[in-house]
Amino acid sequence: MIKTVGKVPLIILLCFFAFSTVINTSTVEAFSEQIIQKGATGDDVVELQSRLQYIGFYDGTIDGVYGWGTYWAVKKYQDEFGLEVDGLVGPKMKAMLEKSTDFDYEWVHRQFYEGRKFTHYGKTPKEIQSGPEGSRIPPLEQKRRQQKAQEKAQPTPTPPAPGEAPPAPGEAPPAPGEAPPAPGEAPPAPGEAPPAPGEAPPAPGEAPPAPGEAAPAPGEAAPAPGEAPPAPGEAAPAPGEAAPAPGETPEEPVEEVPEEPVPEEEVVPEADPEDGPDVEEAMNVPEGFSDNDIQIMAQAVYGEARGEPYIGQVAVAAVIINRINSPTFPNTASGVIFEPRAFTAVADGQIYMDPDETARRAVIDAINGQDPSGNAMYYFNPDTATSGWIWTRPQIKKIGKHIFCK
């Protein structure tokens, strides 16, 4: 083993230089023109989070949503460097970030694509910051996908265990399962996950800097005023030298080598191509409701009112919300929806259909306070109404086919 390892670094080193030039050219990917504001989502936010993490200001998950954690990181940064502390990421802050940090667009987005847990601290070799493939996907979902993948790709016997992600051919130095943190673990904080010297082949010549020291530990570097955080120009390494800390060299193959020699079909059962990329990001959800609550309400709305105009769908969603808030109905979304005889779509099973995007939007609008029904508690379709009692309720208005009433 050691012998092979001895040779490999040379080759890798060469490989690496070839790579780094490629990467460097692709790194110029930078922020778009927009001013980034709290609540935003998308690539710019991914970049913002990555860059802030690079210099240790942000230690949350890089998920592409400008949430509270990111907001505090931005404010800290603005405070630290004498910008106006408003949480808005304008041209000046972006320029400063671009100058002082490195952002590898392709690497980061590949992490997303492969569903890896990862971090993006500067001066820490990227490979130890990248979790095994699929580690970002929750275990339950992983299992479901594996089953799906197995069904699809019957002939391939390889069990796509996420830990063994890149099936390394014999010579690849470190067994990939060892170096990156086990799937269960939290995204590797730079301090914890240095490759144990025994496992990782020593870099030629110099000992890899213990990542624990080199990487700005997220907690320390940023806030402690005494410690002189890296001023934008100086401490921050230029893109070229920053990422490829020596420690990286021997590790590089974990990422790259297997991909080249490994034949395509080995990878296919692994990442079900359909649902590879969409595990990547997070999204905004109104306070007080989980994404699953929204889903269940969207199903109810879709089952009840899919033929209706949008406003009618919002009104149906609003009735659900009004009932949740009413003392005479259950107090949860599921309680209201699954109350026996409350909704016909529940009774006849239409609620188990897949809702479309419109139903979902209607639910979010209703949660955000829209109520075209005017505080209705009931609604019915006059053509198919099954109860005489419902006609005795004071009516508010008719939207589409439904009459809304109190």
Partner: protein
């Protein structure tokens, strides 16, 4: 020969069909029994909890020591919520049993308020004691009626599935033993003379009734409403349909449908007849990819407010859902954020146009207020915070507390272990009014 074969085949077919049919029948029955069992369990649980409720209120009355009173009232509260939960599982949705449900809710609120209050300093007043006595009596009556229904169900083997069928068959009047039993209970509750719940229990006022009280200004005509609507959406010479809302809505308003030729979808909005205030607006538009930033969109939302003379509004929250930006504005008075006066605006990130507007909270609560000075200082308020909380941001704000009253409070945003919290400290006495954990963004679990 052919005949024998045919006969055998047919015979086999008949036998297997019969067998299959029998199996289906068995399965159906077992499912029906399972559904019935669920209803039965909820029903018997309900009667059990109503029994318990009566007993527990009784023991509260008998109690002398204040130390015991709070836990006992908390127990009453717990039992009411269990009973409400049981009710939610019975197929009563379209049957008028709402008085009883409301009654349970009120008992729960009453006991909760008194359970959490400091009874050492502020013991139950004479009236509240009387209320408790009344509740004891009334819950006894409910209990008696429910026991009767229960024994009837047990003795005569009544089935909830039959209730379902009776309700579904829409025959009026409903004639089903269980339904009748419940109706009697509900009528009984309706007959209870208005219980004195104590001043602090807010009446169950619907939002639309509150809004009706607050709306001011001249009555407007349809023509004026049309004009206001077109002005609001900044369109000219387009088709407009206008309708009055029905009697069910406490305030009177015009429902307006505006044809938007550019996007080929209609804009819907409601304008109050009194004063001509736009209450909400919605446009269902397929929004394409985001072309402008959330920040730019928030400027558009602010412009809309300014154009409509809604001044001194501050952006307090913004969120992006795909290509729609949702902005939450609150009224700012002397640098105090008045949260009850809020307006929500949706902006399309494709072209920056307004696609949603919701101002009923603003219209219900907004008025010229005198905001008093906080009587404790910021430093004093900070002392009431959990020491583990790292304060990141603070404001002075007006919020509605649990009792529905407006209180002046210090608003703190802080972090404990990577979780962000929002904490309101009463600016008069330093008590914690509200603590909210602010959510992280949700990871996307769905697969296509």
């Amino acid at each position: 020969m052919v005949r024998t074969i045919l006969v055998t085949v047919l015979a086999v077919a008949v036998v297997s069909t019969a067998f299959w049919g029998y199996q289906e029948h068995q399965e159906k029955n077992s499912i029906l029994i399972k559904a019935e069992n669920n209803y039965q369990r909820a029903f018997h649980d309900l009667t059990y909890h109503l029994d318990q409720l009566h007993d527990e209120i009784g023991s509260t009355l008998a109690m002398n020591s204040r130390d015991q009173l709070s836990p006992s009232l908390a127990e009453v509260w717990r039992i009411t919520s269990m009973a409400q939960n049981d009710l939610g599982q019975l197929p009563l949705a379209l049957m008028p049993f709402s008085k009883t449900e409301e009654y349970l809710y009120k008992i729960g609120q009453f006991s909760y308020r008194n359970a959490i209050r400091d009874l050492d300093n502020e013991p139950l007043s004479e009236e509240e004691y009387q209320t408790l006595e009344q509740l004891y009596e009334q819950s006894g009556e409910i209990q008696k009626e429910m026991r009767q229904v229960q024994s009837m169900v047990l003795n005569e083997n009544l089935r909830w599935m039959d209730v379902e069928l009776a309700l579904a068959s829409e025959e009026e009047p409903l004639d089903n033993a269980i339904v009748n039993g419940f109706k009697i209970v509900d009528e009984k509750v309706e007959g209870f003379s208005e219980v004195e719940w104590g001043s602090e229990l807010p009446q169950l006022q619907q939002n639309d009734e509150a809004l009706k009280e607050r709306l001011n200004g001249e009555q407007i005509s349809e023509e004026e409403a049309k004009e206001i609507a077109l002005n609001f959406v900044q369109l000219e010479n387009v088709e407009v349909e206008i309708e009055e809302t029905g009697e069910g809505l406490a305030y009177e308003s015009f429902s307006i449908k505006i044809n938007d030729p550019e996007h080929e979808v209609d804009i819907y909005m409601d304008i109050s007849q009194k004063g001509g205030h736009p209450i909400w607006l919605l446009q269902d538009r397929q929004v394409g990819d985001a072309a402008i930033s959330l920040n730019e969109a928030s400027e558009r939302a602010k412009e809309l407010l300014e154009r409509n003379d809604i001044n001194d509004m501050q952006l307090v929250d913004s969120k992006q859902y795909n290509s729609v930006g949702v902005f939450n504005f609150a009224y700012l008075k002397d640098n105090v954020r008045v949260y009850p006066d809020s307006i929500i605006i949706d902006v399309s990130l494709e072209d920056g146009e307004i696609i949603g507007y919701e101002a009923s909270a603003y219209l219900t609560n907004h008025r010229d207020r005198d905001v008093e000075e906080p009587s404790i200082s910021l430093e004093e308020a900070k002392e009431s915070l959990n020491p583990a909380l790292e304060v990141m941001e603070h404001h002075v704000a007006m919020i509605k507390n649990d009792l529905g009253e407006e209180v002046l409070a210090y608003e703190f945003f802080g972090v404990i272990n990577n979780d962000t919290y929002r904490i309101f400290i009463n600016a008069a006495n330093g008590e914690e009014e509200k603590v909210e954990k602010l959510d992280h963004a949700e990871p996307v679990y769905r697969s296509t």
